[in-house]
């Protein structure tokens, strides 16, 4: 026991005395949260809109006013003629041009069809669709006001976005960042710290000493486990108080599932350290084999449901996918733990299996 304590103490010293490590361990989660929360966002804001209004009547004005007042839209031009549509789109003045038919109001009052065309710059298809959706729902909103004032029985679809009504991307990224950061700290840093001992030759002495290999493993894992927990708490605090992401579910269960996920990551780090012989190799292996899949296949950036079957199947082998899903359910959807049994079982199984393999593989010799 005394051995283990002095071992862990030594590991903490390594971490605390290396400024770069400290910066990586504590600065990175903050930086990533702020980057993903504010800068890198998939939300569509500041939609530049131009209007071509041939009708100039009461109703078109109300729609234009609605556009001008909405915080998501910037009204750039109101009097552009129809043939200028292409110009405003190509020189970037507008992302969307709203074109009203002639005699818009008249046609509607007579009960005829009155057209509004939305012309969008679709060079980035995803955002174009989002912008079109925003505009459509805004116009429908104005229309629904008429519907209540004038009794013309039209069916207006009423779409509600559950859990994330403003479609804020932070809701999606906070669990994703948690998954990434924990993977980075636990897997990469643990493997580096073990491989560093191989590189400097101190591992030779540790192996020659009567110390049990499990102590070496434990002493490497404990400090990063502690730091990972600190990071989880820091991320949650940042999410709630800076990014205003709701924390609907139980914090205790979020911590529990984080513990299991941390165990998975630590085991992966140990596994890498048994394969890699240099710190550079350890970084490369954890970068390519762990970080990339955790980013691309976990559903953090691309929805798992949209992937080809093979990749979807592959993604179920990625621990980050299960963790991120679980945190989303707990944090954003505020679901009860009974909805999470699948994620819990999968992650626990992964943790058990990987810990077993990596401890088995941890060599008592140098080979």
């Amino acid at each position: 026991m005394k051995q283990l304590i002095s071992f862990i103490q030594k590991e903490f010293r390594h971490i605390f005395r290396d400024r770069r490590t400290m910066l990586l361990l504590l600065g990175m989660p903050t930086a990533m949260m702020i980057l993903f929360g504010f800068a890198i966002t998939t939300e569509v804001k500041n939609i530049n809109v131009a209007v071509s209004d041939a009708s100039h009547d009461e109703r078109t004005r109300r729609i234009i006013n609605a556009l001008a007042e909405n915080e998501y839209f910037n009204l750039r031009e109101t009097a552009s003629r129809q043939r200028e549509t292409e110009r405003v789109l190509s020189d970037g003045t507008a992302d969307i041009v709203v074109v009203f038919d002639e005699n818009f109001d008249e046609k509607l009052t007579r009960g005829e069809k009155a057209g509004i065309r939305l012309i969008a710059d679709a060079s980035d298809p995803n955002t174009a669709i989002t912008k079109i959706n925003y505009t459509t729902s805004l116009i429908k909103g104005v229309e629904s006001d008429w519907a209540t004032s004038t009794p013309s029985g039209r069916i207006i679809p009423n779409v509600r976005m559950l859990y994330n009504p403003q479609m804020k991307s932070a809701y999606n990224f906070v669990p994703g960042v948690m998954g990434l950061i924990l993977m980075l700290i636990c897997a990469m840093m643990t493997s580096i710290s073990i491989v560093r001992e191989k590189e400097t030759g101190t591992m030779e002495l540790l192996l020659v000493s009567p110390v049990k290999p499990i102590y070496v493993i434990l002493s490497k894992a404990v400090p990063y486990f502690v730091i990972a927990c600190v990071d989880v708490l820091a991320i949650l605090l940042l999410a709630v108080f800076v990014l205003q992401v709701p924390l609907l579910g139980s914090v205790v269960w979020i911590m529990v599932i984080s513990f299991i996920y941390i165990a998975v990551c630590l085991a992966l780090g140990l596994l890498i350290s048994t394969v890699a012989h240099t710190q550079v190799a350890a970084v490369l292996i954890s970068g390519v084999a762990l970080m990339m899949p955790a980013m691309l296949l976990s559903g953090m950036i691309y929805p798992v449901e949209n992937m080809p079957v093979l990749l979807e199947w592959l993604s179920s082998a990625i621990p980050a996918r299960w963790y991120i899903t679980a945190v989303k359910k707990l944090m954003i959807q505020g679901l009860d733990i009974s909805y999470l049994w699948k994620e819990l079982v999968v992650l626990s199984f992964m943790a058990g299996f990987l810990l077993f393999v990596s401890i088995k593989k941890f060599n008592v010799r140098l080979q």
Partner: protein
């Protein structure tokens, strides 16, 4: 006591050790001497249970390095070629850490390391990475000794250390030997051989000979001469062309020459004098003899 018996070890295609065998008696300083790449470190790693041999057997105090490795690890002190210190821990922290790792305390065995560690105590709070080569070596030795091992194995402890510290180090080993510790030391420096009780000369994974340095020198078969002229390089070419010159090579400011004849031929402008062979001369002789076989 260390016994190595016909040890073979391959790294893929490279034959690192080709049947190495020797015995180190209890309480002696045994030197394993050979150039870089001779197989010294591989042999050390096998003896310290860090790697296993492909074939052959090694025992330490009768314990097998493969099956009884846990027992062996309790009784050996090992100092790897790279001083295995934590550069970001202080001198004191390093020593304390290794003491706990070996289930002991600095206080318990302070007597054994006092002489060595005493010189480091003024720097107790300095990071190990900021020490000089000689001080690192002393700290590494203190760490290897802190659990009072029965057998001490030092892999090239003097490489990268200044001559004064090297001399001090040898006297330290003498004192440790008097405490009854068996010491196996490897070095690429032939001049360190004389400090050992017995030495093994190793080259290309094979032992050339095992004996005391005096006996190895005494067994040198030829009369050895040192030759020197104002242009040694030209002299080397000249001598190597002569049929009566058996062997000729450079050693410091003199050339070393042996002849096929008893009489030494007279050469103009060349200073020739008989000299005592050194371990290095024996090594060169034994190595070339083996290569000619």
């Amino acid at each position: 006591m260390i016994v190595a018996d016909n040890i073979h070890k391959n790294y893929r295609e490279v034959e690192a050790l080709k049947g190495v065998g020797f015995t180190v008696n209890a309480g002696e300083i045994f030197g394993l001497i050979g150039p870089d790449g001779a197989g010294k470190t591989t042999l050390f790693r096998i003896l310290t249970t860090l790697i296993t041999a492909d074939s052959g057997r090694a025992t330490i105090d009768g314990l097998d390095t493969v099956t009884d490795f846990e027992q062996i690890r309790k009784r050996i002190g090992y100092m790897p070629g790279k001083f295995a210190l934590y550069q970001d821990l202080t001198v004191e922290e390093n020593l304390k850490f290794y003491a706990t790792v070996f289930n002991t305390t600095v206080e318990e065995n302070y007597e054994l390391v006092r002489e060595i560690y005493g010189q480091l105590e003024p720097f107790a709070n300095r990071r190990a990475g900021a020490l000089s080569g000689g001080m690192k070596q002393k700290l590494a030795l203190s760490c290897a000794l802190i659990h009072r091992p029965a057998v001490l194995m030092l892999d090239e402890p003097t490489t990268g250390v200044d001559p004064v510290s090297r001399g001090e180090f040898q006297s330290m080993l003498e004192r440790l030997k008097r405490q009854g510790i068996t010491i196996l030391i490897s070095t690429p420096y032939m001049d360190e051989a004389n400090r050992c009780d017995r030495i093994a000369l190793i080259q290309n994974g094979k032992i050339l000979t095992v004996d005391s340095p005096d006996k190895i020198i005494a067994s040198y078969p030829d009369s050895l001469y040192a030759a020197k002229s104002d242009n040694n390089y030209r002299l080397l070419g000249r001598l190597n062309e002569r049929p009566d010159v058996k062997r000729c090579y450079v050693s410091g400011e003199y050339l070393r020459v042996t002849f096929n004849t008893e009489a030494v031929p007279a050469l103009d402008g060349v200073e020739i004098k008989p000299v005592q062979p050194t371990v290095e001369d024996c090594f060169i002789y034994l190595n070339s003899k083996r290569n000619n076989l």
